[in-house]
Each structure stands twice: as C-alpha cells, then as structure tokens.
C-alpha cells in the first residue's frame, strides 16, 4: 500500500530522464497534430487512377504514424516527471477578442494519453491494411480522426478542446458509414447522435465556465483556477459528466457502443474504443477533478454509481447476447467504468489508478472488441451458438482472446492489474458501496468472459459451422501490439535497457511518468496525514 501511494506522488528528486536534451522543438505538439492533417489533405487529392497507388497510400499513412510515434517516444523519454507543470507548452494568441489562445501542453496524464494515441494510431493503420475500397478516402479520414483525438488530448484551451473534440465526429462517422458492416448507416447515425449530444453538452459546460469566470478567457489556466460558486460548479460538472458519458461511454448513454464497435471496420474500432472514447474520462479528470474540487466531491457518488451500472450492464449484456461482436462491444465498456471509479474515489491513489487505467483501458477495450471482430471474420459468422471449439483451429486468435479477457479483469502481469489495484484501493476508502458494486460487476464480467471463451474457443467443435482460419499475420500483428503494450507496462514498465547501460529506455516507466501533475491535481482531495503537526 505504501508503495502504491508512493507511485501516486511525484518523484522527489529532479533526475533528468535519459535522452533529455537530444531533441527539442517548441512545436512538438503542433507537429503531432498538424502533420497527419497535412498528409490527410495531401492523400485526399493524390491522383490514384483505378486504385493504382493503394499500397502507397497505406504506406504513407503507416510511415506518417510511425514518424509521429517516433517523435512521441522522444518526447516521452524527455518528459520530466519531477515537474508538476505543463511541458512542451505552446501558447499563442488566436482570437483575443474572445479570449481564445492556441494553447497546448501535456502533464503526466496527458503524456499517458499521448502515448496511447500514438500507439493506437499505428495499430489502426495496421488493422486497416485489408481495406480495398476507396483506400485514399479511408486513410485520409483515418488520419484526420487521429489528429483530432491528439489535438483534444493536448489542448490547454477549452475552445481548442471543443474544436478537436467535435472535429473527430465527422471523419469517424464517415468511416463507419462507408466501410462498416451491414448495419453501418445506423451505427454511424448513432455515433453522430450520441457524440453530437456529448459535444453539445461540452459546449454548454465550457461556455458556462467561460461566463462564470468573467468571460475573458477560454484558457484552462484561468478557467479552472477561477473561484466559482459550488452551485455553478455542480451544474457545470453535471453537463461535463453527460459529455464524458457519451464518449466513454457510461450507462445510460452507451447506446452507440454496440452498433459502432459491432459494425465499424477494425481500424476504426481501434480508434473509437481506444483513444477517442478515453477522452471522456480525460475530460472528467481535467475539468471536474482538476478544476472543480467542490463539485467533484459532491458528484463523486454519481460517478461511482454510473461506473457500477456500466460494469453491471456490460457484463449482463455480454452474457445475454448471441452475437460475438456485440459481446466484445459490451465487454469493452468495462475499462472505462474502472477509470471513472478511480475518479469517483477523489483520492490521490484513485486518481493515479484512473490515469493509468486510461492507458490500459484504451488498449484493452479495442483489443477485446477487435479480437471478437477477427474471430467473427475468420469463422465467417458472428453467431455465438454456431461458433464452437475454435481454439485448436485458430490458436493465435485464441491466445489473444485470452489475454484480452485477462486484461479486462486486471490479472497480475498485465498493466491493467496495477491500474485496477490502485483504483480499487483508492475507491474502497471513499466510495465503498460504489467500489463494491463495481467489483461485483467485474465478477459478473469474469463470468461473461469465461462463458464466452468457453462457448467460442474451448467447447466441442460445431460440425455444421462454416470453415475457419486463424488470424492472418496482419491481424496477429496489430492485435499482438495491443496485447504487447499491456504486457510491456505490466512486466517491464521501463522498457528494454539501452545497449551497454543499465538504464531502461523508457525509464522511469509509464507509471512514474504519469504521476507528474497528479499530486498537484489531487492535492485538494488528499487526506490529512495522521499525527502531522500544524
């Protein structure tokens, strides 16, 4: 417990991370956002007669993401976790009449989300390698969606946040409507409806905050530090919860998740279930927990209740459904609910756990949804009663399925273990009923997973089922990267050692990196130390 608490605090000594000073750019975050946008526009107008350059288009998208990830890893390794302030900040007046600044920056939670976004970006391209139709448009939209998610993560101005938050809807809806499964149009409309509602709620919340703080600036540094009455904070907090609940999603605003994760192509599922939906919890962390402590304290039971309802609903729905992709979609609800439980704890340990679960959930949710999609694709049916005894015939997919299930449940050796332990240890102290309900929901989730694995993978083979093939190398690669990320953070948070040294490449590891800024954010919720002198 003492060790866990220590993890949630900033490093006491300012030891520079390895690699610091090798690469410095005042525009690092802008590069991460705008390079994919420029490439996307270029791809959209690139001549591609009869799909002659389809492979080139895919390669351009891949190397763009690889470059972004490379830059991101340099930025990550140079991130100084002993500093509680924002890093890689960019601040330029944009629309001074409205108080809008182009203000970007990252702290510990931000860098965790950025790493997730970079990872998700490259995985989504790999998952989309099988796209054959309108390749140019597909990858152009994919890059735009990725850029908007990255932009929302690094925004330090509420106007900029709204802009990027809303900008992801159009490309994602078009990707689903254009390249999804049979019910793709309904799925796209549901995404637009729910995410549109969430964006509207976010705009109302942001403008209310803007008006309450004097109407002079949208900068988070001003908005989230202004003294606002508890009543106004509560109202703003409530609409922010609505905005977050549509994204994450949380029960009862989860209506899009079954159709979208069940119908979208795998590359889009990766983005939606990965980084894009984590933005909901990230918003709560930034605005509610970080900016409105009074409202956060008052609304924390609501958050805990929503988390419990979401986990319970996801587990029961996964148990009842007969469609494997729908089961994957419902199970993908669980990590988001764990994150929200950590926020509901309003304690330093719970908040640290929820930040780590932003990353682990952003990897585990697309993993389970995409494994289910791959199994359905390779088994040529989505019907669970038809599937059976697949493990011997698709060993790669079976392994990945098991890892995805274990990641959802948070078993040791996987990154989600540390996240869930921190979350539950934090939450049981302040929200015992909610934490118990979520834990009970997780048990139900384990039952649903065991039932699903048993029926699909380890039961007797169905002789009447269509032919089955194992996951292709491409599918194994992208799913393997997601599974590997969970193992990496779970087993070797520092990453491999730099050759010839004893220094881990990503030292001091994701868990320590994310702690930068958390202690500052969590300070209003820290309990007084027993026996401390006044």
């Amino acid at each position: 417990m003492t060790h866990l608490t220590a993890l949630a605090q900033a490093s006491p000594s300012p030891v520079p991370a390895p690699g610091a000073g090798l690469f410095t750019s005042p525009f690092l975050l802008s590069i991460l956002i705008w390079v994919p946008v420029i490439v996307a526009v270029g791809l959209a107008f690139m001549p591609n007669p009869r799909g002659r350059y389809d492979t080139l288009v895919k390669q351009i998208a891949f190397f763009t993401n690889l470059g972004v990830l490379g830059l991101l890893m340099i930025g990550y390794s140079q991130f100084e976790n002993f500093l509680p302030t924002m890093q890689y900040e960019e601040k330029t007046a944009w629309l001074p009449s409205l108080g809008v600044t182009y203000h970007l920056g990252v702290d510990g939670p931000g860098i965790a989300m950025l790493v997730l976004s970079g990872l998700i970006g490259i995985v989504s391209v790999l998952a989309s390698w099988g796209v054959r139709e309108r390749v140019r448009s597909y990858f152009s939209l994919l890059l735009l969606a990725q850029a908007s998610v990255t932009g929302a993560i690094v925004s330090r101005d509420m106007f900029v946040l709204v802009l990027f938050w809303g900008a992801s809807i159009v490309p994602l809806a078009l990707l689903i409507a254009g390249w999804g499964g049979p019910r793709r149009i309904a799925a796209a409309w549901r995404l637009v409806g729910y995410w549109g509602l969430g964006t509207a709620a976010l705009v109302v919340g942001v403008l209310a905050l803007y008006a309450a703080s004097g109407g002079t600036s949208f900068d988070m540094d001003n908005l989230l530090k202004s003294s606002i009455s508890t009543r106004v904070q509560l109202g703003i907090g409530a609409v922010m919860i609505v905005a977050a609940a549509t994204r994450l999603p949380l029960f009862p605003l989860h209506g899009w998740v079954r159709d979208v994760l069940g119908e979208a192509p795998p590359g889009v599922v990766v983005i939606v279930a990965g980084a894009a939906s984590r933005l909901g919890a990230f918003l709560l962390l930034r605005v509610l927990i970080g900016g409105e402590p009074a409202a956060a304290q008052l609304l924390s039971p609501v958050l805990a209740a929503l988390a419990a309802l979401t986990v319970g609903f996801g587990a029961v729905a996964a148990l009842r459904t007969l469609d494997i992709r729908h089961a994957g979609a419902y199970l993908a609800l669980i990590p988001g609910a764990i994150t929200v439980l950590g926020l509901a704890a309003v304690s330093p340990l719970g908040i640290a756990g929820s930040v780590l679960s932003l990353f682990t959930g952003g990897v585990a949710a697309p993993l389970i949804a995409c494994v289910c999609a791959t199994v359905a694709e390779r088994a040529q049916t989505r019907s669970i009663p038809v599937l059976g005894g697949l493990a011997p015939r698709m060993p790669n997919a079976a392994w990945l399925f098991v890892i995805a299930g274990l990641a959802l449940l948070g078993v040791p050796l996987l990154a989600s273990f540390a996240a869930e332990v921190m979350t539950f240890f934090g939450a049981f102290k302040t929200q015992p009923i909610g934490a118990f309900a979520v834990a009970a929901g997780l048990v139900l989730g384990a039952v649903a997973l065991a039932s699903l694995l048993g029926r699909v993978m380890f039961s007797a083979p169905n002789s009447n089922a269509p032919g089955v093939s194992d996951a292709s190398p491409g599918e194994t690669w992208y799913l393997g990267i997601l599974a590997g990320a969970l193992l990496w953070v779970g087993l070797f948070p520092g990453g491999p050692k730099i050759p010839g040294t004893e220094v881990p490449l990503f030292d001091p590891g994701l868990i320590t990196q994310i702690s930068a800024g958390i202690s500052d954010m969590a300070s209003p919720y820290a309990l007084p130390t027993p026996g401390a002198t006044q």
Binding site: A44, F45, A93, W94, L95, P96, S97, L98, R134, S137, F159, V162, L163, F164, G166, A167, I169, V170, A173, L174, A177, G178, A188, W189, V192, G193, G196, L197, T199, A200, V203, V204, L207, A208, Y210, A211, G215
Partner: protein, 470 residues
C-alpha cells in the same frame, strides 16, 4: 475628403452595367463568354483590395447619406468577396444567362454595400430592395412563376418594412439613423415605437427567410438556377440581416423589448432548420435548411443586443454569406437530387471538396467558418445568461451536422451513377480553370476563416462598436 472609398461601389456598378450592355450587343455577346467571368472576378477582387486599403478611412459622403466606418468596411469587403467567389466558382453551363447571371450578383452585392454604408432609413431600404430585385430577375429567367412568387413575398416584406420606417419617422421626426438613436435614447420605450419596430423586424424576417417566414422565399430558391438560389439564400438574406443590425442598433433600446420574440424566432430557425435539413435528402433543399438554421444563430447573437453579440453575429454572417451564396453555385444543376452528386468526390474532387466544406460550414461543424461564428455567438449567449437558447442552438447544430454527414456520404462514399443514366438533370458540373480556382479560393476562405480569424473578428468587433453598441 477622398472619394476613393467609394471606388469599389463604382467598380461594381460599372461592371454590372457593362456586362448587361455586352449581353445586349449580339456581336460581342458570343465572343465574351470565355473571358467575361474571369475578368469580372478579377475586377471584384481589385474592388475588394481597394476596399481593404482605402475603406479604413472614416468619412461621410453626399451630405451624410453614406458613411464609411468599420461596419461598412467589414460588410462591403465581405460582399465583394462573396460576389467574386460566386462568379468564379459558378457552373456557367447550368445558368440561363451568362450576362445577367454575372450582373445580378454584382447588383446584389451593391445593394448590400449601400445598406452597409447607409446613414439613413432611405439608404437602408434602397440597398435592401436592390439586392432583392436582383434575385427576382435571376429567378425569373428560369421560372417566371417563382419569380412572381418572390416578387409578391418581397412586396409584402417591403410594405411591412416601409410602414415600420414611416412610423419611426413619424414618431422621431428623423430619417437619419444617428438622430433617431439620439431621440430614442432620450425617451422611455413607447408603444408608438414598439409597434413599428415589430413590423420592421417581421418584414426583415420575411425577407431573410427566417423560420417560420422561410415558407415564402425558400421554395423559390429551390427552383431557381444555382446562382439564383445562392442569391435568395445568401446575399439577399445578408442584406436583410445588415438592415436589421443597423436598425436594431439605431433603435436602442426598443429592440430589447422584442428580444424574447427574437429568441423564439431564432430557436425555431435553429432547431427547425436542423430538423428539416435532416428530413430532406436532396442537396439543395438540405443546404437551404442548413442556411435557415445558421441564420437562427445570427439572430440569436443580435438578440443579445450587446456589442459582443452583434460582433459575433457579424462574424458569423460573413461566413454564412460566403457559404450560402457560393454553396448552391458549387452544387451546380443537381436537379436530380442525391444521384446527381453521388460519387462527385471521385469525378470532380475540387468541386466536391468545396461543396462539402460549404455544407459543413453551414452546419456548424468544426473547424470551419460556421463553427467559429456559432461558437462566438454561443459565447455571447452564455455571457447574457441565455443557456436555454444556447442548448437549443446546439441541438439544432447536432441535427445539422448529422444532415451534412448524410450529404458527405453521398459525395464521397457512394459511387457515381453511370454516364448513360445521368441525363441533363444530373449533369456533372463543367470543369474550367476559373471554376476550379473559384472552388479552391472558396475552400481556403471557409477553412481559413476561423484559423486566421482574429483580424476578421477584430474588424467585426470594431463594426459593432461603430454602431454605437456597448
């Protein structure tokens, strides 16, 4: 006193007259087809440059009848840009007359410019009627019945405006806007001033096609030629909105009495426009309803009656004017509805990109011009504490974005119909160097409006300040 600031008006009028004259000369009309649109677009761009350069000097002309202030500068520059881009991006093969098709947008732009710099009620009315008359001419070329309908609707609107203006003149003893403002500010609001204000606002709402008054002019736009539709939905509406802004500022604090009614109108327009846009599938009606919804946002900003609200409305109005006027021009004939634009992204990529941006901007999708304008209005609404209207507006915007995505799906995801089945009603827009350049410029304006928006927003703010608002 320099008359250089009036050079843009002079250029516009001379060009319009010249183009009509060329059209009347049979020996010149045929040979002018190729060079006339680019030449006119160039003249308009020169006028735009002159306006930005010389228009910054504050002055009055013709004994105070016209005034050149920041408000006039902002609106005149916007009108010139709208006219230039619409002439450049139009599909002239889909228009009924090249010469009148070029001349009428110029006349409409001139009408907007006159209204923007008018210092008295006569100038306002004249500018509005000029803009409206040009739309009647262009609509009548293709559909005389719709032209007649627009004329009758316009006559009703005009009579309401005129009666209102006459009452105001009778009540205040002045036609000059500044003098009216002084008189009104010195008295408490009276019913004698409130009634004409209501008539005025009703007439302007009818002229602008603001819901529920859109039932008058909107069907006209659906049957007109592409540019005719652009004038009805775009420039004429802008002219009515400009007159409304100037009168609202001059009649302070009377319009404040009607703020609740304006809020109701704007809520109807924002939500109703969005719902109607979602309900229809054909691209031109969808664009028209998106325009109605965005106009609701403009009115919401005006109804706040603060400088920040009016500045935000002006900022949005310019974005609205560009998208609503040029959008139908980019759409082209498209009489066959959705099939006409199916797969346009593959066969006409630049034009399709322009069309997509026009629709998304009218819908208020980020990060385009309409989004920035609507968020600016939203900030003004939040500052005035009107969160119910803000919520309704956002609901309308969500509906609009959903509708826009529907059209984008047709543009980019559906395959184009077979050439043999296309026919005249679904004919592809002709590709010329000018129309491609026009579409590119349009796209840059819509995409860059907010990203580089501070000078525009700053000018809009100065414009609102010039009207005397605080």
């Amino acid at each position: 006193m320099s008359y250089l600031a009036l050079l843009p008006e002079a250029l516009v009028v001379a060009t319009a007259l010249g183009v009509v004259a060329i059209g009347r000369l049979a020996w010149l009309a045929g040979s002018s087809r190729r060079y006339l649109p680019p030449a006119v677009a160039l003249v308009l761009l020169i006028a735009f440059g002159v306006e930005l350069w010389a228009g910054a000097t504050l002055s009055t002309y013709f004994g105070g009848t016209l005034v050149q202030d920041r408000f006039a500068l902002f609106v005149k520059a916007a009108a010139l840009l709208i006219a230039a881009v619409s002439v450049a991006s139009a599909d002239w093969a889909a228009e009924d007359s090249l010469h009148l098709g070029i001349a009428m947008p110029l006349v409409a732009a001139f009408g907007v410019m006159v209204a923007a710099s008018a210092a008295d009620m006569l100038g306002l009315w004249a500018g509005l009627e000029l803009a409206a008359a040009s739309a009647v001419v262009l609509v009548s070329l293709r559909r005389p019945d719709l032209g007649l309908r627009l004329l009758i609707v316009g006559a009703v609107a005009s009579s309401l405006v005129l009666v209102g203006l006459a009452f105001i003149y009778a009540s205040t003893g002045n036609a000059d806007l500044g003098a009216i403002r002084d008189v009104v500010l010195s008295r408490a609001p009276t019913i004698a001033l409130a009634i004409p204000t209501l008539l005025l606002l009703a007439g302007l709402a009818l002229r602008a096609g603001l819901a529920p008054f859109h039932v008058g002019p909107l069907p006209v736009g659906l049957g007109a030629s592409p540019l005719g539709a652009g004038l009805v939905i775009g420039l004429v509406t802008v002219a009515a909105a400009i007159v409304g802004i100037k009168l609202v500022a001059a009649l302070t604090p009377i319009p404040g009495v009607f703020a609740p009614y304006a809020y109701v109108l704007s809520a109807l327009a924002m939500v109703g426009g969005g719902a109607a846009a979602l309900a229809v599938r054909s691209p031109r009606p969808r664009m028209a309803y998106l325009a109605v919804a965005q106009l609701g946002w403009v009115v919401a900003g005006l109804a706040t009656h603060y400088r920040s609200g009016v500045a935000a409305s002006l900022f949005l109005l310019a974005a609205f004017g560009v998208a609503a006027t040029c959008g139908p021009a980019l759409l082209g004939r498209a009489e066959a509805g959705e099939p006409a634009i199916a797969g346009l992204g593959a066969v006409r990529p630049v034009r399709a990109a322009g069309l997509a941006l026009a629709i998304l901007s009218l819908a208020g999708a980020p990060p385009l011009a309409g989004f920035f304008g609507e968020l600016a209005v939203g900030a003004a609404l939040a500052q005035s504490g009107n969160f119910i209207l803000l919520g309704l507006g956002l609901l309308g915007t969500v509906l609009c974005v959903a509708a826009a995505i529907g059209t984008l799906r047709v543009l980019y995801i559906q395959g184009p119909i077979e050439e043999a089945r296309r026919g005249a009603a679904a004919a592809l827009p002709a590709v010329t160097a000018l129309s491609t350049a026009g579409a590119v410029v349009f796209s840059l304006v819509i995409a860059g409006y907010g990203l580089f928006g501070q000078p525009i927003l700053g000018l809009a703010d100065q414009g609102a300040e010039a009207l005397g608002l605080r």
